[in-house]
């Protein structure tokens, strides 16, 4: 496909003709929550608020610990540093010119909104990210985030997350970007002015994206190299492209499948594509409602898809898309795409030249509701006779499935398991992966052999645990041991206990 941007005047006209109610909504959105003066009220509001049906994603943080309150002028990072798993960092209204990172589990970062006053992260156009996290069970709510270069909220391998009711504007390349995550909920956020995808789910599993409003971005919502995702009840308007689900080649996780896109408003996504040169979404043609590229088992149901000037839905393989470097380890084709009943109106009135060429071949002057290009198999369409279809879609069969009502969401029943491991097990691993570098069982290495230490400290693991916290040089012929005070007392004891229990097997014969 072509990456050219279409003429601006067309966009302006389309917007003017488009959606008055959207503008009205936008000015008010997100509706400020009621003033919450007390901690209890705030938490009660957050827990029991508008998102009640999905509010208690299992395993997310901040609901059982203490509350650390941060006010204008304070460092949020200091509060995060003090917080223990389960704690909530409560952020009062004010302007926070900070980047916050959360590298521990079960922490909630929750803003307090008083009337129209939000706690606002301001990147001033020079900071990279507002919130970075890698912990499991992180919750980020009620924050206004503006003027960052990279992301508003970015997670790397943080499972069981909730990102809810944030107001994000001009916050860089992505607005909300969980990556390498399992089990997460993104809901009731409003995002605009993002150079790539406003909500970008990358290389993740079991994600729910609901009730968000995304407008004025290059891409509204993108599900990329991810599996088991539901995108529902969102409003995507005035983006260059509304909702996308891709397999992007060259990434270490190679598939996208089991994605449901339903009950969304995908309206007048005709914004100029202002993505960075060379980015994948710079190849997304302006005026596209939904784009499915090389993904499998995607179901599109009951969306309102209208006024998208290029096409309502585009289904593409890698070869037909701009800027794509093939990857022999990925399937380049869309497979088993199911377009069930949706509402289409006034799509494809100003299509890109490749689509115009397809129209010419098919002797039609009507732009498409649904167009497919490239390979793939097993795709279907529910009501083909009422749609303007083009390309390979004309050979699709009729869907046997009529609804996705059987899938409430793809979130996990139980949280993705914690990554902390038992103290005893960790003691063994630390012995093997750290201590054994210097203490072999019965051979002199850098430190005395474990066998000798077992004699010295027989039945006295605490002696070892205490010694390794602050070692003193004991023997002329061995170097001083580096202190291990960074390990907790429990962990030091576990290591010591394991060390005393080690009994290396006898040398075994060489194996084939």
């Amino acid at each position: 496909m072509n990456k050219q941007c279409l003429v601006t005047s067309v966009i302006v006209a389309a917007l003017a003709a488009g959606s008055g109610y959207l503008y009205a909504r936008r000015q008010a959105a997100p509706a400020p929550t009621t003033a919450a003066e007390s901690t209890a009220a705030t938490l009660a509001h957050v827990q029991g608020g508008a998102a009640a049906h999905l509010s208690s994603l299992p395993g997310t943080g901040g609901s059982h610990g203490s509350v650390i309150t941060v006010k204008d002028g304070d460092s949020i990072q200091d509060a995060v540093a003090r917080a223990k798993p389960g704690d909530t960092v409560q952020i009062l209204p004010g302007t926070y010119r900070q980047t916050v990172y959360i590298d521990k589990d079960d922490i909630a970062l929750v803003g307090v909104i008083r009337g129209a006053d939000w706690p606002t992260f301001d990147g001033e156009g020079k900071r990279n990210d507002a919130v970075l996290y890698s912990g499991n069970g992180v919750r980020v709510e009620n924050l206004k985030i503006v003027n960052f270069k990279g992301n508003a909220i970015m997670g790397q391998a943080g499972n069981n997350f909730v990102i809810r009711h944030n107001w994000i504007a001009n916050a860089g390349v992505y607005g909300i970007f969980p990556e390498f995550a399992q089990n997460g909920l993104i809901e009731y956020n409003v995002l605009t002015g993002i150079e790539d995808a406003a909500i970008y789910v990358g290389m993740s599993d079991n994600i729910h994206v609901a009730h968000n409003e995304v407008y004025g971005n290059v891409a509204g919502i993108e599900i990329e190299n991810s599996r088991h995702a539901v995108v529902e009840h969102n409003l995507a308007t005035d983006n260059a492209a509304g909702i996308l689900t891709f397999v992007t080649p060259g990434l270490p996780i190679k598939t996208t499948f089991d994605v449901i896109i339903r009950n969304n408003f995908v309206v007048a996504n005709n914004h100029k594509n202002f993505a960075a040169v060379g980015s994948i979404v710079s190849g997304a043609p302006s005026g596209s409602g939904i784009i499915i590229m090389a993904a499998a088992d995607v179901i599109v149901e009951n969306n309102m898809i209208r006024d998208n000037k290029n096409a309502g839905i585009i289904v593409s393989d890698h070869k037909s898309f701009a800027n794509i470097t093939p990857d022999p380890e990925t399937d380049p084709n869309p497979e088993r795409i199911q377009v069930l009943h949706n509402l289409f109106a006034n799509n494809g009135y100003e299509p890109m030249k490749e689509i115009r060429a397809l129209m010419a071949v098919n002797l039609t002057r009507e732009g498409p509701d649904l167009v497919g290009v490239g390979g793939g198999a097993g795709s279907c369409i529910a009501d083909r006779d009422s749609l303007k279809i083009l390309g390979v879609v004309t050979s699709w069969g009729v869907c046997t499935r009529t609804s996705t009502a059987d899938v409430t969401n793809y979130l996990l029943d139980k949280p993705a398991p914690p990554r902390e491991i038992s103290t005893g097990e960790r003691g063994k691993l630390i012995y093997s992966s750290v201590c054994a570098g210097c203490h072999a069982y019965n051979v002199r290495m850098i430190g005395p052999p474990t066998q000798i230490l077992q004699v010295m400290y027989a039945a006295n693991p605490q002696g070892i645990a205490d010694y390794i916290a602050a070692p003193v040089k004991k023997r002329d012929d061995f170097p001083a041991m580096p202190p291990q005070a960074h390990l907790s007392p429990e962990l030091r004891l576990a290591v010591a206990q394991y060390m005393l229990s080690v009994n290396q097997p006898k040398p075994a014969p060489a194996a084939p």
């Binding site: 060379g278 960074h486 097997p505």
Partner: protein, 378 residues
């Protein structure tokens, strides 16, 4: 403080006496391996973490990709002798260790030490943590260590040997015949090539570096990194610099091929990299994303060693998309190569952070002598 401790333990490692006895094989698994019924199995805290789709990429507490382990202690130790023995080369002067220098992160810092004395087109990459890799060489053309190591062994400019000649050499040495017989059960018909390859692969797979200060931070020790290093980590993982998108923890590589448009050294022709292997035009100029573990030790940087320092290397990424692509070359640059506009301070912090990935506490000792009796190249 951590820096000093690590230095102390390295000094201690250097002072280690050689393995007892002339050319006896160790029955001890290397550090970070547990001896289970005669086979060495990796032990690391990372093994108790998971990774999405078992891909071994993610964030701080993310599991590793599948590891190549299970060699015997004897095979690993035999591999160590072979690795340092110049008898493996045509001239008897070049060992694996000549280019994969242990003191330089098992990478090379001086082109032209091969048998012909001419500089190789590409720099020898680090061998730390190769047990987790599934693509080898800068262009990713080999898929196992055994396949890879034949490249330098028999490469005309590198060790210059031939398979038959190598076996004649080794079978002609009493010491090696005895050592191979101890490490393998099936050497009755003499030492075979696959024995040599497996022993070298066993030794290389034992080079584990997962105990850096970064790792302590990842496991939850918040003050293991200094404030500037944490700042560097945050630049590293931000979507502005985007380092972590390809240099993904925990190995700091996603093992993919990327076209990023690094310059060649002055006067050298353009290297098509993976494009020359696959014939796929969009991979022209593509190279395997290298791991950054121990990267502070492995200067110079880039596939051809074109950058002298880490600071120069990180500055490349903020020099403008395609700024070093020669005129006339049309490369399909990776989408993460863009205009991040990193400040000088941010580049400095990135280097600070990369320094925190250093851990050579389990660097094996070089033998004091090798079975061929040849001098070990330094």
């Amino acid at each position: 403080m951590w820096r000093r401790l690590r230095a102390a333990s390295m000094l201690a490692a250097a002072a280690l006496p050689a393995t007892a006895g002339a050319f006896a094989l160790s029955h001890q698994c290397p550090p970070s391996f547990e001896n289970r019924e005669g086979h060495c199995r990796l032990q690391t805290v990372y093994q108790r973490y998971t990774s999405l789709n078992d891909a071994g990429v993610g964030g701080l507490k993310t599991g590793l990709p599948p590891v190549r382990d299970g060699f015997t202690p004897e095979q690993i130790d035999l591999g160590r002798y072979l690795f340092f023995d110049p008898a493996l080369s045509r001239t008897g002067k070049v060992a694996c260790a000549s280019c994969h220098r242990p003191s330089r992160g098992f990478a090379d810092d001086r082109p032209g030490v091969g048998v012909t004395g001419t500089a190789e087109r590409r720099k020898a990459p680090s061998l730390w943590n190769v047990a987790f890799l599934r693509r080898f060489f800068w262009d990713g053309r080999a898929h196992s260590l055994e396949e890879q190591l034949k490249g330098p062994l028999y490469g005309a400019q590198e060790m210059g040997n031939r398979p038959a000649r190598l076996l004649t050499t080794l079978n002609g040495m009493t010491a090696y015949r005895a050592l191979f017989a101890e490490a393998f059960t099936d050497t009755g018909g003499g030492i075979r090539s696959d024995h040599v390859y497996q022993a070298l692969a066993a030794f290389e797979s034992s080079l584990i570096s997962l105990n850096s200060r970064y790792d302590l931070y990842a496991h939850g020790v918040a003050d293991a990194l200094s404030p500037p290093e944490v700042e560097g980590l945050n630049v590293f993982r931000s979507f502005v610099a985007r380092c972590a998108e390809c240099h993904t923890p925990p190995l700091f590589t996603n093992q993919q091929i990327a076209v990023i448009g690094m310059p060649e050294p002055k006067g050298r022709p353009f290297d098509p990299g993976a494009g020359a292997i696959s014939g796929e035009p969009t991979l022209r100029g593509g190279f395997k994303v290298p791991s950054l573990r121990n990267v502070a030790l492995t200067a110079p940087y880039g596939h051809a060693g074109q950058f002298a320092t880490l600071r120069d290397t990180v500055a490349f990424y903020t020099g403008g998309r395609g700024h070093a692509v020669p005129s006339g070359e049309k490369l399909q640059l990776h989408w993460h190569i863009w205009e991040p506009k990193l400040s000088a301070g941010e580049l400095d912090r990135l280097v600070d952070f990369l320094d925190a990935l250093t851990d050579e506490s389990f660097r094996p000792t070089a033998p004091t002598g090798v079975p061929s009796g040849l001098p070990i190249p330094n």
